[in-house]
Symmetry: C2
Subunit: 262 residues, 2 copies
DNA sequence: ATCTCGATGATTGTCAACAATGCAAGCTCT
DNA sequence: AGAGCTTGCATTGTTGACAATCATCGAGAT
């Protein structure tokens, strides 16, 4: 039961409890002839379910190890088990969910090795994206990015941690959009989410993220079309994220168990 | 029914190219009741089916646009439709198969834009991999790579085109193995296959690939641990692959129809 | 007290039947 | 003949039931 409450984050943005009627909620306060739902039933596509779970993980609403039961999910999204299963399968391929035979799905708990691999991969891809953005950035893009950073500052002022995490990841995806390479964006989306899992697993408490200032500096370099500087700042930014973690302690923890009982 | 013959290449498990693990970890030591097999037949896992189709596409045995009917596949692999469907879903996420509602699955026909994005992404990732390999390559690795290139030369001497394609892609995945980054290897596996599709769609006939010599030069640089040179050679190698294609002509073809009849 | 073993409920894995959809051939009417 | 409609077939989409498996918990033995 507690688990179902926890997962209720996934249901529609409105803070409603887990609705027992899976489909066709048709919220009352809306006008009768609203433009919604012209096909009778409000069907949720598999891609939507995928995206919902994916971003919930990215925003650290589902910590590593969280079990994702098929039946719960079926109720929450109002789809059949077969489709949930399909979504899990893709999420597993994306590396954000772990499937164990006859044990079902759970949010991936990344290993230290995996964490390091993710960082390396992300550095590589972000470098290319930044270089690309420096070449093709427009005034309109600059406005969008400034606006985004303003929202980040605002979220930090309000101490809205969930929003900060969301916006922080979104900034990088925005850059990927501007770079205009869908393949790289897909990879980066996956990496951002997986890195979010790493942070959730290995973060040292109390250290502020404060990444909006770093984002701001990267943007300034991009405005000047200084690709080298922007790349360098991006690398520093990503390294700073890593430096806030403690990968060694936790890795030695698992060694402890092995050595102590030998 | 001619289509079934064409797809029958999938049934024999002759060549195991990239045996990547598309799913999550499945720790072997659970082998107590591993092959229960109450049906009397050797069950193939979803991952196997995934890998088979994936590598068949990588080896250009299934050209772009090939329809993949659920029932055919069910017969070929001896699994139920539900599982085929799951596999298709993951292949679609990997970008090598395209799913259209109520139309089913077909091998992706990459657009020119997509092709360019794939090349950029691949260049990025291969650069990181090569740099990593230059640092950590061992004598044993060198032997493996030399051996592999020897097989490439042999395949070329025998004019075994299918084998050449297979080995050529495998060389890069071998480097990814040596680099030891599973995340990057997964990305590269996907990119190699998608690039294979691009080649199948846009290749200019008659131009030999002859990549084993380029592979050889890259290896020599790696033996000397000259990361810069190896990276440069790799970039040239990848550019050479692109230069053998004709992306512009085919893109203008589709424009032709629009302009001529206007 | 702790360990082993077995029963039980919860959860996942599999499948086959049924419904919905799209495609193509044939038919009708002008 | 040709445009539009209808019908039949091939294929995909969905669902629910059933089988297999795992986790939990308690009884009994050491």
């Amino acid at each position: 039961m507690a688990a179902l409450w926890r997962l209720s984050i996934l249901s529609n943005g409105a803070s409603e409890l887990n609705d027992m009627a899976p489909r066709s909620r048709s919220p009352g306060p809306r006008a009768a002839h609203d433009s919604v739902d012209h096909t009778g039933e409000n069907r949720v596509s598999d891609d939507e379910v995928f995206a919902r779970i994916h971003s919930a993980i990215a925003q650290q609403q589902l910590p590593p190890g969280t079990r994702l039961r098929e039946d719960e999910m079926r109720q929450i999204f109002g789809v059949s088990r077969a489709r949930i299963r399909n979504v899990f399968s893709r999420l597993a391929y994306a590396g954000v969910v772990t499937l164990e035979p006859n044990r079902g799905a759970s949010v991936t708990r990344p290993s230290v090795k995996e964490a390091r691999e993710i960082f390396v991969a992300r550095r590589t891809i972000e470098a290319t994206i930044v270089a690309e953005v420096a070449q093709r950035i427009t005034r309109k893009d600059v406005v969008r990015l400034r606006d985004h950073i303003a929202r980040e500052v605002d979220a930090e002022a309000r101490r809205d941690r969930a929003e900060m995490i969301r916006l922080s990841g979104e900034f990088h995806l925005l850059l990927a959009d501007i770079a205009g390479n869908a393949v790289l964006k897909k990879f980066l989306t996956e990496l951002v989410t997986r890195e979010s899992l790493v942070i959730a697993a290995y973060e040292t408490p109390g250290r502020p993220s404060c990444s909006n200032h770093e984002h701001s500096r990267i943007l300034e370099a991009l405005v000047l079309k200084d690709a080298d500087k922007a790349t360098m700042l991006m690398q520093e930014h990503l390294d700073a994220i890593v430096s806030r973690l403690d990968l060694d302690r936790n890795s030695s923890q698992s060694i402890d168990l092995a050595t102590i009982f030998s």
